[in-house]
Amino acid sequence: MAGGAASSGSTASDTYAGARHWLLMPSWFVLLIFVAAPVAMMLVYSFLTKEFRGGVIWEFSLGAYDQFFFDRGLFGDDPPQIDWTYINIFWRSIWQAGLATVLSLLIGFPTAYFIATRPERSRALWVFVITIPYWVNLLIRTVSMKFLLRDQGPMNDFLIWTGVIDDPLRIINTNLAVQLGLFYSYLPFMVLPIYAAVERYNFTLSEAAADLYASKWATLRRVLLPAVKPGVIAGCILVFVPSLGAFLAPDLLGGARNFMIGSLIEEQFKGNAGNWPFGAAASMILLTLVLIILMVFARQQRRMGDMR
């Protein structure tokens, strides 16, 4: 992503080459000290010993990672066995984020396609309408979703009033509610890259396919989809990655049973029950996971770029 944004066209110049280091210094200063150094510090903390009132003791320990992956019994001296508790929380988060991504794709692709095939003048307006909700406070959006979906909420009232259902749908505190919340949080990230890809797509290819007696859906699957695949993959990554570490949607919509990585990490730093090294280790594992996904994605985008 970063590399793509950097490519500067004919407007690149070296007018201010003499001042380049002065110009960059403020961002280096702020970002090195307050973003890069903290991430490094977090890595260090994940190898320290926990202190019981929250915080750490400066003694090297693998305890946090050990606790994440292994169970050594009540007194810590049994032979280590793989402990599935935390791995399962990660697995469930990946699964939830994956389903939210599929949901976003199923609704986002047709929407993006529809917008990209509008007359050129109205496209920007459609895109704007899709992105407005994204800029509304995430907490407020999630609370609104919770308000709407409640057992005695407006959606159930409406459905009962119209006679579609007799008893309220119980959606809050289910996996579905979390997926809906994640979908609602990150949908524009799915629509925008697909929209950009479809907009660049050469529709004479579809016409050629139709001339050769391909059905509409065969054209979609065999001609259009392969052509816009980079946009689809970008959209999926952009929804999946933030969903994986999301906190608000699982916390407010999922209830206690639908615990995700974000809540597990948050819990380690709240009150006295926390375990900072463990929280740091869980964060490191999440960060590693995300970086691997982004690297695979970047390599693939580059390969597709080479093929052109």
């Binding site: 944004a5 066209g9 961002s27 702020v30 510090m41 929407t111 899709i130 407005i132 709407l148």
Partner: protein, 268 residues
């Protein structure tokens, strides 16, 4: 219908687009409507009233909300201003200062806050402030916000700068303007739509942030999202819907301004 449009349209895609719009807007509209409900219960509708808006400003929780609003807006204003200044300088170095070795690493560093999951950045920032012995409070929130606002301010500014040909500055310098004058009197005014839209996005992102703020705020200091979150944990109350409606109107207003600025072409 001509053969050409026929190839383009798929049955059901329009319906899904409409469904998408309903899902996106229904929750916001429902909360907006219910914020005007006269009833103290959130399930019963008793007619239109502004009582919950009055409650936000004068009710029992008003002091808490006023303080939180002051913290939120002052932090967003300072963080967005500084982030925009830093981002403008960085964009000038990356777009208008030739190719050099630190160029791509700098760009990577600027996008870092977007690449790292928010919760991870929150943990890292908390650990950092803790390890250097900083007391958590207003200042820690402000510093964290400046840092993560930089990429959001940067992206529209860079996009704008790439769209401006450097012939304008060249012309100015041919007429004996110094580089500083060309920057201040030619490039900067042309950049204004990008700079304002970068500022607005940074402002919204700062105002929006819950996770990082929640980690670094310390006891007793609240911003609007953390105050709302604390309140919602005990159940959604009508006054929360009134605050939410005010905040969402503000966001929509700012994004709308940003949208029209991005279409405003002042290079002609």
């Amino acid at each position: 219908m001509s053969a050409r449009t026929d190839v383009k349209t798929y049955p059901g895609f329009f319906a899904i687009t409409l469904l998408c719009m309903v899902i996106l807007y229904a929750p916001l509209m429902v909360v907006t409507v219910y914020s005007f409900n006269a009833s103290p219960s959130i399930t019963v509708w008793e007619g239109l009233s502004l009582r919950w808006y009055a409650d936000v400003f004068t009710g029992p929780e008003s002091d808490k909300f006023k303080q939180a609003a002051f913290n939120s807006f002052s932090i967003a204003l300072i963080a967005a201003t500084l982030a925009t200044a830093i981002a403008t300088a960085s964009a000038t170095a990356i777009v208008r200062a030739g190719r050099f070795r630190l160029r791509l690493p700098s760009l990577g560093l600027i996008t870092l806050p977007i690449l790292v999951p928010e919760i991870v950045l929150a943990v890292a920032t908390l650990i950092f402030f803790n390890s250097i012995g900083f007391t958590r409070g207003y200042m820690t929130i402000l510093v964290a916000h400046i840092a993560f606002c930089i990429p959001f301010a940067y992206l529209p500014i860079q996009a704008r700068m790439q769209g401006i040909e450097n012939t304008y500055e060249q012309a100015a310098m041919d007429l004996y303007a110094t580089k500083a004058q060309a920057f201040r009197q030619v490039l900067l005014p042309l950049m204004m739509p990008g700079i304002i839209s970068g500022f607005l996005l940074a402002f919204i992102v700062s105002l929006d942030d819950f996770i990082i703020t929640n980690f670094v705020k310390g006891a007793g200091v609240e911003t609007l999202p953390t105050a709302i979150f604390g309140s919602v944990k005990q159940g959604i109350k009508p006054n929360i819907m009134a605050i939410s409606t005010m905040l969402l109107s503000l966001s929509i207003m700012m994004v709308t301004i940003s949208y029209f600025l991005s279409k405003w072409d002042n290079t002609k």
